[in-house]
């Protein structure tokens, strides 16, 4: 039944990783298709004509776009196993709030850290750490954001963990110094097979970023 679910993806994308983790948590068989973003496939352009971006989840021929929407879709369709969102509406709202927070902050700030220098980079680093500290506050003493089990916010945030190495190298700082609880949480997540097999090696991601910087003439 693998052909029922197809994922159009790009290996270093944290958004793609979210979907890989969700599918793995649910034990769903699927076909993974790697996209070359400089030469997008006809399938990608057909399935996501508006944004032309990955990841795209194709279920029985119908496309679902946008990673947070895809993860919620997966949770709703395959609701029998490993629920990602809590069942209580208030807790669900809380999970959605923090997922939205991750989306508003982490990617853009992280991007600024590896693409800029000087004052702009310093400002991005400061806000990035502040954002991570807020997330640490939300995690508290829980094993995962989802409590005893991996949940929605865990799936949404953990893919950035193997990009932390990129931010640290380019920004010349250590995240663990500022946010030890969050690093400990990420390492706990990586103990799970669904996460470990969905995240590429951080050195590989860094190598990819160095290539990008060279290609775009970024210092």
């Amino acid at each position: 039944m693998a052909e029922e679910v197809v994922l159009l993806d790009f290996w270093p994308s944290p958004f793609g990783m979210r979907v890989r983790i969700a599918l793995a948590e649910k034990g769903i068989q699927y076909e993974y298709k790697e996209e070359d973003l400089r030469n997008k496939s006809d399938l990608l352009l057909k399935m996501n004509p508006i944004h032309k971006k990955i990841p795209v989840l194709i279920h029985k021929g119908k496309p679902v776009c946008e990673s947070l929407i895809q993860v919620q879709y997966i949770d709703e369709v395959w609701h029998g196993k490993s629920p990602l969102l809590p069942s209580d509406p208030y807790q669900r709202a809380n999970a959605r709030f923090w997922a939205d927070f991750v989306d508003k902050k982490i990617y853009d700030l992280g991007r600024k850290i590896w693409t800029t220098k000087g004052e702009e980079q310093a400002a991005a680093k400061k806000e990035f750490i502040e954002s991570l500290k807020l997330l640490e506050g939300e995690l508290g003493d829980k094993t995962y954001f989802g409590g005893d089990n991996l949940g929605y916010v865990d799936v949404v945030l953990v893919p950035f963990y193997n990009w932390f190495y990129v931010y640290e190298k380019c920004g010349n700082f250590t995240i663990e110094e500022e946010c030890p609880k969050l690093i400990a949480w990420a390492k706990r997540c990586l103990q799970k097979e669904s996460v470990a097999k969905s995240l590429p090696d951080e050195e590989k991601v860094y190598g990819f970023v160095l290539q990008l910087k060279k290609a775009f003439g970024i210092e």
């Binding site: 508006i50 279920h59 119908k62 679902v64 776009c65 946008e66 929407i69 895809q70 919620q72 879709y73 709703e76 369709v77 509406p89 208030y90 669900r92 709202a93 809380n94 959605r96 709030f97 939205d100 927070f101 807020l134």
Partner: protein, 223 residues
């Protein structure tokens, strides 16, 4: 069972009005608390939305929820009655997709086009119109984005349904949303505002027009 529902909002904010519209669709009674977003933020707002310090915030039996779209999904899940989202997971995903498109593409593009300096205006208007054209395609012959009744996408697009035409009147530029350029989307705005539950959730037209005329005058004075 006594229930306490409060909304911290602002009279002119389309995000705040989205939440009020969702509550009215469900027939939920609530207490409205006006926040002066241009002045000092109240201790209540800072307490209940410490992360973003913005309206709207919904308080349900003392527990706060922030971010209008998160709030609307909570309202949908908490109170039965008229549905705001489809039941089918795929249709639900499509409604969330278009809602995100409105929030992350349409609204910023429209806002940029409205306030852009003359020399950048043409390009900003072109980009905003591309968004409107794409959004129009989502209507696909339906009366509302939600089908026969107002749904999540209609609520999210309230800025386009009501605020935009008033802003166009204030600026004197009618080149974004017009009946000639976007006939079906324009017709939707009429359907939207004539819906009785929507009417109850909109700010007073004259007050909003005056507000934007003042902002336009300010912007021109500072040139």
């Amino acid at each position: 069972m006594s229930e306490e529902v409060k909304v911290l909002g602002n009279w002119g904010s389309c995000f705040s009005r989205r939440v009020e519209l969702a509550l009215k669709i469900k027939g939920v009674e609530y207490e409205y608390i006006e926040e002066d977003v241009y002045g000092n933020k109240s201790p209540l707002l800072l307490k209940y939305n410490p992360v973003h310090k913005k309206v709207p915030v919904l308080l349900h039996n003392g527990k706060p929820i922030a971010e209008s779209l998160v709030i609307i999904e909570y309202i949908e899940e908490t109170w039965k009655g008229t549905p705001i989202l489809p039941e089918d997971p795929y249709e639900k995903a499509m409604a969330r997709f278009w809602t995100k498109f409105v929030d992350e593409k349409c609204l910023p593009a429209l806002w940029r086009a409205v306030w852009s300096p003359e020399n950048e205006r043409e390009k900003a208007v072109e980009e905003a119109c591309k968004c409107l054209e794409t959004l129009q395609s989502a209507l696909n012959g339906k009366r509302f984005f939600g089908g026969d009744t107002v749904g999540l996408v209609d609520i999210a697009a309230n800025f386009i349904g009501f605020w935009l035409r008033i802003i166009q009147e204030a600026t004197g530029h009618g080149d974004l949303l017009s009946a000639e350029k976007f006939p079906t989307l324009f017709k939707w705005t009429d359907e939207f505002v004539s819906c009785s539950v929507v009417k109850q959730s909109l700010p007073p037209r004259d007050k909003l027009l005056a507000f934007f005329k003042a902002r336009v005058a300010e912007a021109n004075a500072s040139k």
